[in-house]
Symmetry: C2
Amino acid sequence: MKKLTLEEVGKLAGVSRATVSRVVNGYPHIRPEIRERVQRVIDETGYRPNLLARSLASDRSNIIGLVIPSGAQAVFTDPYFPCLTQGISRGVNSNNLTLALFMVHSEKEEERTILSILGTGLVDGLIVTSDNKGDVFIPELLKHEMPFVQIGRSLYSDLVYRVDTDNLAGSYLATQHLISLGYQRIATIATNRNCSGDDRLTGYTNALADHGRGVDRKLVAYGDYGLESGYHAMKQLIPQRPDAVFITSDTMALGAMRALQEANLRVPDDIAIVGYDDLPPAVQANPQLTTIRQPIEQTGFLAVSMLVKILANDPPSSREIVLPVELVIRNSCGATRLNAVATTEQGSAYRVNE
Amino acid sequence: MKKLTLEEVGKLAGVSRATVSRVVNGYPHIRPEIRERVQRVIDETGYRPNLLARSLASDRSNIIGLVIPSGAQAVFTDPYFPCLTQGISRGVNSNNLTLALFMVHSEKEEERTILSILGTGLVDGLIVTSDNKGDVFIPELLKHEMPFVQIGRSLYSDLVYRVDTDNLAGSYLATQHLISLGYQRIATIATNRNCSGDDRLTGYTNALADHGRGVDRKLVAYGDYGLESGYHAMKQLIPQRPDAVFITSDTMALGAMRALQEANLRVPDDIAIVGYDDLPPAVQANPQLTTIRQPIEQTGFLAVSMLVKILANDPPSSREIVLPVELVIRNSCGATRLNAVATTEQGSAYRVNE
DNA sequence: TCTCTACTTGAGAGCGCTCTCAAGTAGAAC
DNA sequence: GTTCTACTTGAGAGCGCTCTCAAGTAGAGA
């Protein structure tokens, strides 16, 4: 398979390089018979344009990058990233782009990775998944005027395009659900590592407040979205005798349930649980988790759409898209046992699973 | 941030474009003072070479692609791909390459994806993760002389570079472990969708044979590595009253355990289980799974190393790397309960977890 | 018939880099 | 002083494509 060039295809078809280029790129003003003749040569020879040359000439690589930060050891434990990546990949494919994956494995690599991308013309734009609070990435991107879309909350809301799920509404919904089921001592396992964690804690707080309850600090524990951290947080919570816990990630919920089991506490009879994410762990758990479902894959897909618009100099009118979430009721909250009917006030979707 | 070119940097440093290029690429024969002067200009201006132009000129993109096939809905359920990707990404970073991710989401996309890669000069080489039996990818790659490394078993063993884990030894080890614990009716949940599944079934068969036992067809059920399939396979197995089951993926084991629970069978008291993979689900399970640990991340890393060698025209002497696996003993097999001491004959590693 | 416009094509100048080739320099060896 | 070798640098020719520009053609309108 020797490589053909536009020039050679042109020679074979008896036209110039430019005309072949026009055929390849679907340019309109070409005599039908010429177009056909060129197309035939292309088909017969299996000519494929050299993407690198095209990129260089057009100053557009049609490659977009996905940056996954180092903080995310959760990459293993948590199907969040696979899901997101899947959505992004779908978006990329349907826009005829190529996806470059930049995973950062250590703090040191972080800067190196930024530099290796910026100013090299390799990618047209970026999707950035970090929402760690102290993130250094974003300012750098802004400085270099690299087009990008952020996934999750951002510290630079007014400068940045981003897409997120409605963490505030989700955690409000979860907490409210527990309240409506009659639980009195509702604890939470939150995370203070990132912005979405803040939002989820706020939603919890708001829901309690709206029902005339304050937050008991002793009923708030922290984890890092990982399994182990859920276990430890729950250990810490048990002596406080909560009758329900809103846990801000399904994976942490799994860890928490192990702690409960060791303490001989049954879910939901002794203690109710609502998780967050509705990823596979929610169904793997025993009992299955009532949880908040967020459209993760769609998040990724929309981030690509948004980026594509930005790159086309047709930026969306709004800098942010916030996707709705829904409450999925299974067994861990006690609702199915109690035959209780939960209601929702915020208009967010709500469903009993299957 | 306007973009600088070699030419301009050269002008600023009072040398030619070629000299700047030599400095950038660490070419040896340059007068130290010149090198220093040029380097200073580079540092001050923040010059970064245009990767596209470099690739075009050098006929080397330094991008390698990772192809993840459509069959892998398991992408969600199973941390296998994230782990592998992590390893590949490590390898890519340490070789100063860029990783392009090609996820195929449907059969139709499959061909389109191949075409969009081949002959475009975009990637120097590929890592292919499919080991579906009917895979059409590989022949196409061979035909186009695209350098690639396959992960997993291959139908084209003598034509292909590949790296794999020792599925045969792993399943042998698992089965043997159950035998040595005294179980009599050892079932298996295998998969017949791919080559590694075949190997795992063969390892099971071999272990039984080496202990003078035949395979009872009724004790063999099939799944697809997914959670649900494990559940259904186990349902099918229960009436056969096995006292132990070797399940060829942890995720299927999780599903199987749900079926057992519904049937009021306790693990390991009523039925022992050994899984495969040692990914997070193994620890999330209750009881935790005795399983076969395979070095997935390392697999990815080595695949990159292998590919790099091939691209450097220094192909490894052996076309395949098969990584050893180890038995990790936890609670699901009954060994810890029985205080039994398992032994291994094949020299593969073996350890009791934590 | 002449002009005007729209369509159709090719020539040619890059995009920013690599890489070969040749020329120039300097020190070592004779 | 001459020759040889090794080092050091610049010139120039691409890599394969896009894109502008200008030229040529043809049909509509006056």
